[in-house]
């Protein structure tokens, strides 16, 4: 941009043009200048409001992580003892007769769910993330953070506004409402404004109802939110509203109701992937693999470059003994420009299990080159697995050791080290490793079973018995444990 030209242009036009080109920082600077000269310029006020909102926009139709307090003090779920498959907290298990992932084949995450192909909020697979204490707490923090970046105090002081006056001017009110929600994160004020505004239009504008729902949702008033969203949908059929209604039902722990509304949305908007993605995710969380895969496939029919769909399908093919198909899907991700440790690591594993050994180590090298402290241990762990696969136990041993040195909290590596030590006859070391694995990864059944077997072999039936109880708690269908337990019972009687 030539300075000279810019100086000649009307700064208001320039600001508008920059806003359209999504150069929000420039827009904010320009509008701030103009407003400094004339603080009553409504057009510029509006533009600045929009620009600030757009700059801090978050796509809140996606799922979000739950805070610790919300997990512990959750009193929104409808049923306290739900049947399997009707609640996210009690998903399908093998007893309910659905095809779920076999924990003997497919590893589980920290929450005890089978690993999915895609790390998203709520799957809890990212290691070492600290959960915020509460959801709203995080938004308050975000609100103060965005406030601080502004010089000369906040642009709009929400508490001192006469919201009724604004509610009479629909355009300004809408901009202000979004500003309050996305920039200020002040759901209470936004709710007040939306309430006045919807009254003003005689409860006929779907937009205000949807915003009311959003505000209620943020304040944790899920039943009110549900009402508003439903009423908004009656006025106007919108994809986002369906998505947000789904989120409300997830919060209320009614996955089947969420699916119902997503399905309704799909019926109205057959080509939209977000709704299908929502359905797929819920089936996934309910451990209903077969159905979720069906929907992931549907997504890929509509949008062949949906990363989540591709990676979930790939992950599933891998654990279903079809590494060749998984390899093809991961290659597609590479072509799409995804380039991270996890992808290269998965590619390497696929190459190994589909007998393309020359590629395998290259992929691991790339994965290591891109790795950081969070995922390096996983890569080394997988290198160890591959080393076991080619029978090079020395390399495997070292790989697991490296994995532990990178991340001292890697229970899977401890478990495998334990097995390797046991093969060399080092009973005490192996026991220690199993113990470490158990304390670091209480969701794994392997180290507990290994430890139980070791105790049994060493003649300590008491420890063995206690540990077997633990295994069967984690993985009730574990046949090896059940067998060992019957043997022990025979000893006890």
């Amino acid at each position: 941009m030539q300075e000279g030209n810019a100086m000649q242009m009307d700064p208001a036009i320039l600001a508008l043009s920059r806003y359209r080109r999504r150069r929000f920082d420039d827009t904010i600077d320009l509008t701030t200048d103009i407003l400094a000269r004339n603080f009553k310029d409504q057009a510029m006020w509006f533009l600045k409001c929009r620009a600030l909102t757009a700059k801090n926009w978050i796509d809140d139709t996606e799922m979000e992580d739950e805070g610790v307090a919300e997990l512990l003090l959750d009193d929104h779920s409808v049923a306290s003892a739900p049947r399997p498959g009707t609640s996210l907290k009690k998903p399908f298990n093998a007893e309910s007769g659905r095809t779920t992932a076999n924990p003997g084949i497919r590893p589980t995450t920290r929450d005890g769910r089978p690993v999915t192909g895609f790390a998203r909020p709520g799957t809890g697979s990212a290691p070492g993330t600290s959960r915020p204490v509460t959801q709203s707490g995080r938004f308050v923090r975000l609100g103060t953070a965005s406030m601080r970046t502004e010089e000369g105090g906040p642009f709009i002081v929400a508490d001192s506004l006469d919201l009724k006056k604004y509610a009479q001017r629909p355009a300004l009110a809408k901009a202000l409402c979004d500003y309050l929600l996305y920039f200020d994160h002040n759901a209470k004020k936004a709710l007040e404004l939306a309430a006045f505004a919807t009254e003003e239009v005689e409860f006929k504008d779907w937009w205000w109802k949807a915003r009311l729902g959003k505000c209620y949702y943020k304040l944790g008033l899920y039943r009110d939110a549900e009402k508003q969203f439903k009423s908004s949908l009656k006025d106007q059929d919108m994809i986002t509203t369906y998505l947000e209604l789904g989120k409300v039902y997830i919060k209320l722990d009614q996955p089947n109701a969420a699916i119902e509304y997503y399905e309704k949305g799909c019926h109205q908007h057959p080509g939209d992937t977000h709704l299908i993605l929502g359905i797929a995710r819920i089936h996934d969380q309910l451990n209903d693999m077969e159905k979720s895969l069906l929907y992931y496939e549907k997504i890929l029919d509509l949008n062949s470059s949906n990363i989540e769909g591709i990676s979930c399908l790939a992950g599933n093919y891998f654990y279903e003994d079809q590494p060749e198909l998984a390899l093809r899907l991961y290659r597609r991700l590479i072509q799409m420009g995804v380039n991270n440790t996890e992808l290269w690591n998965n590619l390497a594993l696929c190459c190994f299990y589909s007998s393309q050994y020359d590629m395998c180590l290259n992929c691991f090298e790339r994965a290591l080159a891109l790795a950081d402290d969070n995922n390096m241990a996983d890569v080394w762990y997988n290198i160890g697995q591959v080393a076991i696969g080619i029978g090079d136990l020395g390399l495997a041993y070292h790989a697991f050791k490296v994995a532990i040195s990178v991340d001292g909290n890697h229970p899977e590596s401890f478990n495998n080290l334990g097995v390797l030590e046991l093969r060399q006859g080092h009973l005490d070391e192996s026991k220690n490793n199993f113990d470490a694995a158990i304390s670091l990864g209480p969701y794994l059944h392997e180290p507990v079973f290994n430890s139980a077997l070791l105790s049994y072999k060493m003649g300590n039936h008491q420890d063995s018995y206690n540990q077997l109880q633990k295994v069967l708690e984690i993985y009730p269908q574990h046949t090896d444990s059940a067998e060992l337990l019957t043997k022990l019972r025979k000893h006890f009687s």
Partner: protein, 432 residues
């Protein structure tokens, strides 16, 4: 073994109380014993514990039999440490009862404190020298302390007092641990004379015959074991699975793959994560020339049990047959890494290497195999490889070696290997 415990108890009940001073108080202590006993053998533990607690309260915790049964119940709930301290209390109350001492010893054994257990049993033996159970338990302790000779003596003495299947089984186990398979088989067959329908014995004998390579007899016993009421809930499911796997593998050896597969289908319901099962299924498909399914099954087996060399070996064989030599090489080398003393792996590795045109390493592998074990197949394959690489003199030499080893085989074995005979003819014709 549940009968064992009740025998001990009856002994106890019939035993005269030696230190009875006040018959009135003593009978008060004992008056509810019949009820405790009845509830206990009915497995009504909740009610039983209730009665025991009442009884213990009314006699200030000095009732020996109530404590004894409480300890037994606790042990069955898996609380060995607690049950041990209760048994110790019974010994304090009445140190003349060998049943109490026996249970203390047993608890020590279950906690893995073998030397203390043996001490206890020695003590108990002073009270009742001719008790098969004490000798049996001592045998167990010595067995787990790896003092096999002493253990053997103890178990044999136990049997000489009173014969029990459990003793025979433990004795057999001790022989197996010392790899004395013949003795183990003899012991089990002796046991079968007394209880011919014990399916655990039948299965174990069958498995042992399989191990010493007598497939026909193995099949006989395993079949017997399965016919003796396969739905009997007393037979643990793992035993059935083992039997099914073993019979399946024998059927497989006679190339009746479909029959074997139908057997495995039963087992797969119980143990979907058993690597051995998947391995055998894989080899069934291999026998049916369905290589893709074979590889898929074997790979799943290898995923479940990465340390099993035989799975890697089988995968190598399948890949060799499908002409994927690089993969075959990989699996054979993995198999050799895991189990370096299996000569056939080297031969197949050599064949793979020769197909990959690595003649020098192939020869080294053949020589390694021949050095480990003299087998006519090694010589024949070596000769073929040498011939294919135009080294006729060495080929002739190894063909002669083959002839020598082949002539040492008996008629029947020679007839069985039809394609070996064919190959020999063609090779000798080419070398002549």
């Amino acid at each position: 073994m549940s009968t064992m415990v009740s025998i001990g108890k009856f002994d106890y009940l019939n035993e005269p109380q030696s230190d009875t001073f006040n018959p009135k108080i003593e009978s008060d202590k004992e008056k509810r014993n019949w009820m405790i006993h009845m509830l206990y053998i009915r497995h009504d533990y909740v009610e039983c514990l209730k009665v025991i607690e009442e009884q213990l309260q009314s006699c200030q915790g000095l009732c020996e039999y109530a404590i004894y049964v409480k300890a037994l119940i606790l042990r069955q709930k898996g609380k060995i440490q607690d049950s041990l301290s209760l048994f110790q209390a019974t010994v304090m109350l009445n140190s003349n009862n060998p049943a109490n001492l026996k249970q203390v010893g047993r608890s020590y054994f279950l906690l893995g404190r073998v030397s203390e257990a043996i001490e206890c049993f020695d003590e108990a033996q002073k009270l009742s020298p001719e008790d098969w159970e004490i000798w049996f338990n001592k045998g167990l302790c010595f067995g787990s302390a790896k003092q096999y000779d002493v253990a053997e003596d103890c178990l044999i003495r136990s049997n000489s007092i009173q014969r029990h299947d459990a003793t025979y089984i433990e004795l057999g186990k001790i022989y197996i641990q010392q790899e004395k398979f013949r003795e183990a088989i003899d012991i089990y067959i002796e046991a079968l004379d007394y209880s011919p329908e014990n399916s655990e014995l039948l299965t174990t004998v069958g498995l042992l015959y399989l191990r010493v390579g007598d497939n026909f007899k193995a099949f006989e016993y395993l079949g017997n074991s399965l016919t003796h009421d396969p739905k009997n809930p007393k037979i643990p499911p793992d035993l059935i699975i083992q039997t099914i796997l073993a019979t399946g593998s024998i059927i497989q050896d006679h190339s009746e793959n479909d029959v074997a597969l139908s057997k495995y289908r039963i087992a797969a319901v119980h143990t979907p994560n058993s690597a051995q099962l998947w391995n055998n299924i894989g080899m069934c498909f291999f026998g049916k020339v369905n290589y893709v399914a074979a590889i898929a099954c074997l790979k799943r087996a290898l995923y479940l049990a990465p340390f099993e060399w035989i799975i890697a070996y089988n995968l190598g064989l399948v890949h060799l047959n499908t002409g994927q030599y690089a993969s075959a090489f990989h699996y054979f080398s993995a198999s050799i890494n895991l189990k370096p003393d299996f000569a056939s792996s080297y031969m197949y590795l050599a064949i793979t290497l020769s197909r990959l045109d690595d003649f020098d390493n192939a020869c080294t592998a053949y020589e390694k195999a021949i050095e480990m074990e003299s087998d006519h197949m090694f010589e024949l394959n070596y000769a073929i490889t040498l011939y294919n690489h135009d080294d006729f003199d060495s080929a002739r030499h190894h063909l002669l070696q083959f002839e020598r080893l082949f002539s040492e085989l008996d008629e029947e074995e020679r007839e069985a290997e039809q394609n070996v005979l064919e190959t020999r003819q063609r090779l000798s014709a080419a070398l002549a």
